[in-house]
């Protein structure tokens, strides 16, 4: 009865992530027999480890029985054609999928031997430990300073103003942005260029000292120069953080990562040292993909 609602003609196309599932359905005959991943999914000293993970959107299965370890201080990249489930898998690692009502996750994912889907694990704490950088740069409509300070503030990581200043400065420095923005910390973060915005988002993630950083196609919205800058940054960050990156670009995977996992229609097809995967793929699907027969 209210005015605004009369005028709102409902958008007939409600957004549903069904497209992910619909592709998987073709391959979901495999659900019964676990898909055998080629290569060694395990590493000696895993920071995170997933075992037999299945993800469903309503009835549709988006991830089929995936097991994978993410090692300490390594960069692991996940590649595959669009809709293969690599982003869905990544979002399972810090329970971002919790925000989608129809999404259901089965299997076990551990962070430092703690099951992150257990009752005792808190999603807020988990996300503080496993940070995330998204496809499109998404700085808050606040100042650059406040963008970085947001995480430390809500988590209470800084006891004083000077400590907060220090966190902001080191985070920006680690993201290689300090020199570019130190004179305009009070300017809005949305005023930066695309590449700077994405590095700001990385700095924002670093500011809460996560153990793992998840990156969901962080360079897909950036130009080549900005992309190179972010890739450099990822390489530097490897010293202190474990990074899982989803990427569309095989070259990027080859440049930044030590291990690579290839996803296809919700299955983890092959995983191994990045060099091996790109020079000597063992699975025919992997080979077809990296030689560019589909993508």
């Amino acid at each position: 009865m209210s005015k605004a609602n009369i005028y709102a003609i409902e958008n007939p196309v409600t957004h549903q992530p069904g497209w992910i599932g619909s592709r998987v359905q073709e391959g979901s005959e495999n659900t019964a027999s676990p898909y055998a991943t080629v290569g060694n999914i395990a590493v000696p000293n895993p920071r995170m480890s997933a075992r037999s993970v299945n993800v469903f959107y309503d009835e549709k299965q988006a991830i089929n029985n995936v097991s994978l370890d993410i090692g300490l201080n390594e960069v692991i990249s996940m590649i595959g054609p669009s809709g293969c489930g690599k982003s869905t898998f990544l979002r399972c690692l810090n329970r971002m999928n919790d925000t989608i009502d129809i999404c259901r996750v089965e299997g076990e994912i551990t962070l430092q031997d703690e099951n992150i889907y257990s009752k005792s694990m808190d999603a807020v704490l988990l996300r503080a430990r496993v940070g995330m950088v998204f496809q499109k740069p998404n700085p808050f409509p606040k100042s650059i300073y406040d963008n970085i300070a947001y995480g430390p503030k809500i988590h209470g990581l800084a006891r004083s103003r000077s400590e907060l200043n220090e966190i902001v400065e080191t985070s920006l420095a680690k993201a290689g942005l300090w020199d570019e923005v130190k004179d305009r910390l009070t300017k809005p973060g949305t005023g930066l260029s695309g590449g700077q915005q994405q590095r700001l988002c990385i700095a924002r993630a670093i500011a809460v000292s996560p153990e793992v950083i998840l990156m969901d196609e962080p360079c897909s919205a950036l130009d080549p120069i900005a992309t190179a800058r972010v890739e450099e940054l990822i390489d530097e960050l490897r010293q202190n953080y474990t990074i899982a990156i989803v990427t569309h670009s095989m070259q990027q995977a080859a440049r930044v990562s030590q291990r690579t996992a290839y996803f296809h229609l919700g299955n983890l097809v092959e995983v191994g040292e990045t060099n091996d995967i790109f020079t000597n793929p063992k699975h025919p699907l992997t080979e077809a993909y990296i030689t560019g027969r589909f993508g």
């Binding site: 209210s2 605004a4 807020v124 704490l125 996300r127 995330m132 995480g151």
Partner: protein
């Protein structure tokens, strides 16, 4: 009733015209077997020329006839009457009209008035007869002229379509005409008010007592027209209303869109929307007869002196009325905040409420501010609740337990009941009206601008 008859006759003629137009189109094309448009367009062309000019003349005639006849009658009145001031002439005219139509008149009827009434009656019946003849003649003439223009090469469809477009343009221009009408009519009367009362007194005066102005013959009772107490009263009540509506509307919008289960949403949302559909007179009744006594009694229990027409009661109920307004506007702007911002905040490990309070609301703030301004403009212009639940006494106070009056209440009080035109008392209502119009206009323009800018930002 001749008017109904004339309208029916025009409609009948139009049907005939349509028929003949179509037939004529078929006849003229029979030999060459060629016709530019389909036959019914020729029918429509004829029908349009038969009906529209005639109906236009009819409406104009009816709108203007009484003014013109009255002027003629006045012109013929004896000078003893025409020398009177405008107000008295108005009364005389009323007497003449009433006498002519056999209704009760005010007091004795002089010979002059009886003669004028006879004159008036004659003119009126003359006008009626002329109306019937002229309008029907125009209809027939229009139809025949249109018929004569029909030829196989005549582009009837294009012409008819152009006429339709023209009509559409006229219909959409009514919005502009309405605005102009409001501004001109209200402004005109307001200017006459400011001829009598200095504008500085109106804008800065702190005393409002228009009632004394009735007795113009009394010394020193020209009335006080300082609008400040009305403005503070209006602002006080609107402020209370916003104090209720903004937090509650915002919080319920947030809860319904971010937290509520589908079931709760399906129940609570329509119930809250009912609030927007309840007529304001019902709120007024509830405010005056249930809320105000309740507040007065509970204030009494606390040892507070509460007026039975307290600003608090009116403001509270008005606030509830605006809740759905605020909540549906905030719902819109909150949903416009991109999901990526929420993801970013949740991805750092913020809780749901931290995300809402520190990211979503700041991002939606311009939109919410626009919504609040629109809500404020609503509250300022709301009439029935305050007419029924707020007082008449123009107290200059900001105590919500006192009785205050508002601009709209005064407009209603000044214009309902006995009216004498041209007295400052009546004209003051128009001065208040134009102030109200301007204030709400400015608020609306600013609010719509902010909201539009905000939408563009996230599109």
């Amino acid at each position: 009733m001749p008017v109904y008859f004339v309208v029916l006759a025009i409609l009948g003629l139009t049907t005939i015209a349509y028929h003949y137009g179509r037939k004529r189109a078929l006849t003229v094309s029979a030999s060459s077997n060629h016709l530019h448009s389909l036959p019914h367009y020729y029918g429509a062309w004829t029908a349009i020329w038969c009906s529209i000019p005639a109906l236009a003349v009819l409406v104009l005639w009816l709108a203007l006839q009484s003014t013109i006849i009255t002027n003629i009658v006045i012109a013929d009145l004896p000078s003893a009457i025409t020398d009177l001031n405008e107000q008295r002439i108005g009364l005389v005219i009323n007497d003449i009209r009433n006498y002519a139509e056999g209704r009760i008149t005010s007091g004795e009827i002089s010979l002059g008035i009886a003669a004028a009434a006879k004159h008036y009656k004659e003119l009126k019946s003359l006008s009626r007869m002329a109306l019937v003849v002229i309008v029907l003649a125009i209809a027939i003439f229009g139809g025949i002229m249109a018929l004569r223009l029909i030829s196989p090469d005549f582009r009837a469809r294009n012409t008819v379509e152009n006429i339709i477009r023209g009509l559409l343009v006229i219909c959409s221009s009514i919005a502009i005409l309405t605005t102009i009408g409001i501004v001109l009519s209200v402004l005109f009367e307001a200017i006459r008010f400011f001829d009598q009362i200095p504008i500085t007194q109106f804008l800065f005066g702190t005393e409002w007592s228009p009632q004394t102005a009735i007795r113009t013959d009394q010394v020193g009772s020209s009335g006080a027209f300082g609008a400040i107490p009305l403005l503070t009263g209006t602002l006080l009540i609107s402020f209370i209303a916003l104090l209720v509506a903004v937090p509650i509307g915002l919080m319920s919008a947030i809860y319904l869109s971010e937290y509520a289960s589908a079931r709760l949403r399906a129940i609570a949302k329509p119930i809250l929307e009912i609030l927007a559909g309840i007529p304001t007179v019902v709120y007024g009744f509830f405010a005056a007869l249930t809320v105000a006594p309740f507040i007065r009694d509970s204030g009494g229990l606390l040892g507070l002196e509460v007026s039975s027409e307290s600003a608090l009661a009116a403001g509270l109920v008005m606030g509830v009325m605006i809740i759905p307004f605020v909540s549906s506007l905030s719902d819109d702007v909150i949903n416009a905040v991109p999901q990526s911002l929420r993801d970013a905040s949740l991805g750092i490990g913020a809780t749901h409420s931290e995300t809402i309070r520190q990211v979503v609301i700041p991002a939606a703030l311009p939109g919410i501010a626009g919504g609040v301004l629109l809500a404020a403009s609503r509250a300022i212009g709301e009439t029935m609740i305050v007419v029924m639940a707020a007082g008449l006494a123009a107290n200059l106070t900001i105590n919500p337990l006192d009785s205050v009056t508002t601009v709209t209440v005064q407009i209603v009080t000044l214009l309902v009941g006995d009216q004498e035109f041209d007295s400052p008392k009546t004209l003051a209502a128009f001065a208040l009206g134009i102030s109200l119009f301007l204030v709400t206009l400015v608020l609306n323009v600013i609010a719509l601008h902010i909201v539009r800018k905000y939408r563009e930002q996230y599109d």
